[in-house]
Assembly symmetry: C2
Homo-oligomer: 160 residues x 2
């Protein structure tokens, strides 16, 4: 749909090299293409005091997986940009007792064309991303995030 | 109001020892009492790829600061419990370019008595906590979280 598939290994290296918390979480990019990004983490560096998944790790993994989907799609579309998170909400549905992963997708596929058009024309556009956190084949938490993309040449701000 | 002031150093040691991500973030408990908990972090372990504060670190610090307030108050009240986060939302308002901190408070002081009564009577109660993320003396992000406390003897679940 939007050209080349992004390199999962390159995305993983980018995240782990540039974001210390992503390295500390030992995240592994399992898949990265235009439809979805999947990133997994082992439990050990992401536990709480009870040996289950730490809510902060769940939220951070979700946010990174959401950000990565927009990053991958904008890279594939050849649009220089900077992505800024504006809002992120996590609903924790059940405990996670082992390695877990996150899968991001656009809230609606139809959101993409106006998002790209807005970014190209006005240098700024907004879009929503959803993430399902998965443990043992079932959804354990959900994330909804809203991001703003700024066109190249806009002054740097927070990015993920 | 609710007895002894909790030891900030003990809280910091607890968080850093039990939660690997809290150690990776190098969090420092600045204050811990019944009215508010304040926790700070340096920027270096909490940056993104642009050298500003990583949104995942912001969300995680907020969540830990919210959890800590309930933990401190329940400890001071002598009520054995387990705290489970159910929902957490972060609004990112402006970029953070240096060390930052979080300050948690109850959404409403009047929520506390029914929360404690519910926990004592039914072994389960729900409460909302607000957190302001502060950078250079101004609010840079806001967090709203909802937690469930389970009484002692309830089976362990996710805790932060």
């Amino acid at each position: 749909m939007i050209g080349p598939v992004f390199d999962a290994a390159a995305l993983q290296a980018y995240l782990r090299t540039r974001i210390p918390l992503a390295a500390a979480m030992q995240l592994e990019v399992l898949a990265a293409d235009a439809e979805a990004v999947r990133i997994g983490v082992p439990l050990a560096p992401n536990t709480n005091q009870h040996g289950t998944a730490f809510g902060g790790s769940v939220a951070t993994l979700a946010m990174l997986t959401a950000w990565s989907l927009l990053h991958v799609r904008l890279q594939a579309a050849g649009i220089p940009n900077q992505l800024v998170i504006q809002r992120g909400c996590v609903e924790y549905e059940r405990p996670i007792a082992g390695a877990f992963s996150a899968r991001s997708s656009l809230r609606a596929a139809a959101d993409w064309p106006p998002f790209v058009n807005g970014l190209r024309r006005r240098g700024k556009a907004r879009i929503a991303v959803r993430v399902a956190l998965e443990y043992e084949g079932a959804t354990a938490a959900r994330f909804d995030g809203e991001f703003v993309a700024l066109g190249a040449g806009t002054s740097p701000r927070r990015s993920t």
